[in-house]
């Protein structure tokens, strides 16, 4: 069983979701490696990153270890913390050999983000 890892370095906001009630999106990530127990970022069960157009969220050493793949999902929770009311923004699945770089993730509700990452091994 070979483990791989990728580091998500930043999220850049090209545009926010139209559905946001507050100013900007309240962004958080859910990272699920190999279909297992997901982790939430920001961690420690806590808040989100308020993002407006032009903002960069620099992630502090977010290294994701996985065997086959790790699915990173961007969410916007706006004012209500009920997960049933969270807004799905987009997602990206990283696999071995993904390489380093960035990827633009957008949806038809106006959300447009660029996720940057470094493939470690």
């Amino acid at each position: 069983m070979r483990k791989h890892s990728i580091q998500v370095t930043s999220i850049y906001c090209n545009a926010t979701s139209e559905s946001g009630i507050t100013s900007g999106d309240e962004v958080y990530l859910v990272c699920q490696a190999d279909g297992g127990l997901p982790i939430r970022v920001p961690g420690k069960i806590n808040s989100s990153e308020n993002m407006k157009k032009g903002d960069t969220w620099k992630l502090d050493n977010l290294v994701l270890n996985f065997e086959y793949e790790v699915l990173v999902t961007l969410w916007d929770h706006d004012l209500n913390y009920d997960p049933n009311l969270a807004t799905y923004l987009q997602s990206n699945d990283f696999q071995p050999g993904t390489g380093s770089g960035s990827k633009r993730l957008s949806n038809r509700n106006g959300a447009d983000y660029t996720i940057s990452y470094t493939y470690i091994d």
């Binding site: 190999d34 279909g35 127990l37 997901p38 086959y68 793949e69 799905y88």
Partner: protein, 362 residues
């Protein structure tokens, strides 16, 4: 603990981890139990000893190891009706207590990437809430260094809230209950102040909780669309990724030319998982959603794609059946819906791309 229960509990842990952290609560001074509260815990211990050593208790506790969450919940919900606990609760209700709930719960520890513990319990009204409706609850906490995978014990609690008000965050701190038998005691508090105290049997005092953050879910009638959506999958022999879903032609649902798409995937007829776990992804004709949803399976995966329509129920816009024999390791395969959902001028069509990424995983 069986894997099914572990996965089911992990979904609650996952939901807990996606919540914002509560405001910091000021730790109250250690509570001192009243004589009646001490008596409650001592009599509860005796009742548990009587039940767990009875032929009925032995048989039922042996069966617990193989129960899934709904079965375990039904078992726990039935505990207050057993004669030994029914008598205990009747007696507790006759006491002058400052508390509003008394709970009986099974305490389990598990590990799935991280360690967590859970107490699946039933709370009944006592004191001023003696007439209140009982409720079932699940408390979860994240812990490291657990002796994983065991039914660790039984937990009794006395709470300041009525049963239906037990939901929410709390911090637990180890507490000497002043009772002389092997058990671990704790008290819980949050921003509203002291919540209650627990006694856990079957866990050595040295394994006590020290300090722990936990969240209590009230388990309502969640029906077919549970509040907590499943997300953690059990490992199986094969692993595929639903790489993308393409809208060849959307369904005309009367709300424009855009569909609000989510899908349900089900491996080998087991748990049905939604994706996105909550919400949807809007799609128009020609759009491709790079959803990247991985799925563990043994022989087959069923995928049903829905257009969420808040006014008239959700419409199925594609049904896919994926068998291991149709896949080749590392190669993307396009699947068409097994059923044509077009009608009249509405030529709805979606396709999915699937890639097998691991096979015969031990």
């Amino acid at each position: 603990m069986n894997d099914t229960l572990k996965i089911q509990l992990a979904n609650y842990v996952s939901a807990y981890r996606s919540m914002p952290s509560p405001a910091p609560a000021e730790r109250p001074s250690n509570p001192v139990l009243t004589e009646n509260e001490k008596k409650v815990f001592m009599e509860a211990e005796k009742a548990w000893a009587a039940y767990s050593s009875s032929p009925e208790g032995k048989k039922e506790l042996a069966a617990v190891e193989n129960m899934d969450l709904p079965e375990l919940r039904a078992y726990v919900a039935g505990l207050p009706d057993k004669p030994v606990f029914s008598k205990l609760i009747k007696w507790i209700r006759s006491l002058d207590l400052p508390d509003s709930s008394f709970s009986i719960g099974l305490y389990v520890e598990a590990e799935l990437v991280i360690g967590f513990s859970g107490t699946l319990g039933v709370a009944v009204g006592v004191g001023n809430s003696a007439g209140a409706q009982s409720c079932e609850f699940l408390s979860v906490s994240l812990e490291v260094g657990l002796q994983a995978g065991a039914l660790a014990g039984v937990q009794f609690g006395l709470w300041n809230q009525a049963p239906a008000e037990l939901e929410g965050n709390a911090t637990g701190v180890e507490l000497d209950l002043g009772i002389e038998f092997e058990m671990s005691g704790a008290f819980y508090f949050n921003t509203s102040g002291l919540r209650g105290a627990t006694l856990t049997l079957g866990v050595g005092v040295e394994d006590g909780i020290a300090v722990v953050e936990c969240y209590t879910f009230i388990l309502g009638d969640q029906g077919a669309d549970p509040y907590i959506k499943p997300v953690v999958q059990p490992r199986k022999s094969n692993f595929l990724i639903i790489e993308s879903l393409k809208c060849v032609h959307p369904s005309n649902d009367g709300a424009g030319d855009e569909n609000e798409i989510y899908f349900i995937f089900q491996a080998d007829g087991d748990t049905a998982y939604p994706y996105p776990t909550y919400d949807y992804f809007s799609m128009k004709e020609g759009d491709t959603w790079q959803c990247g949803r991985s799925v563990w399976f043994n022989s087959s995966v069923a995928v049903t794609v829905y257009d969420e329509d808040g006014t008239s129920g959700n419409d199925v816009v594609g049904t896919f059946s994926i068998s291991l024999s149709q896949l080749k390791l590392g190669t993307s395969v396009t699947f068409k819906s097994t059923k044509d959902y077009s009608s009249g001028f509405d030529k709805v069509e979606y396709t999915i791309n699937v890639k097998l990424i691991a096979q015969n995983v031990s």
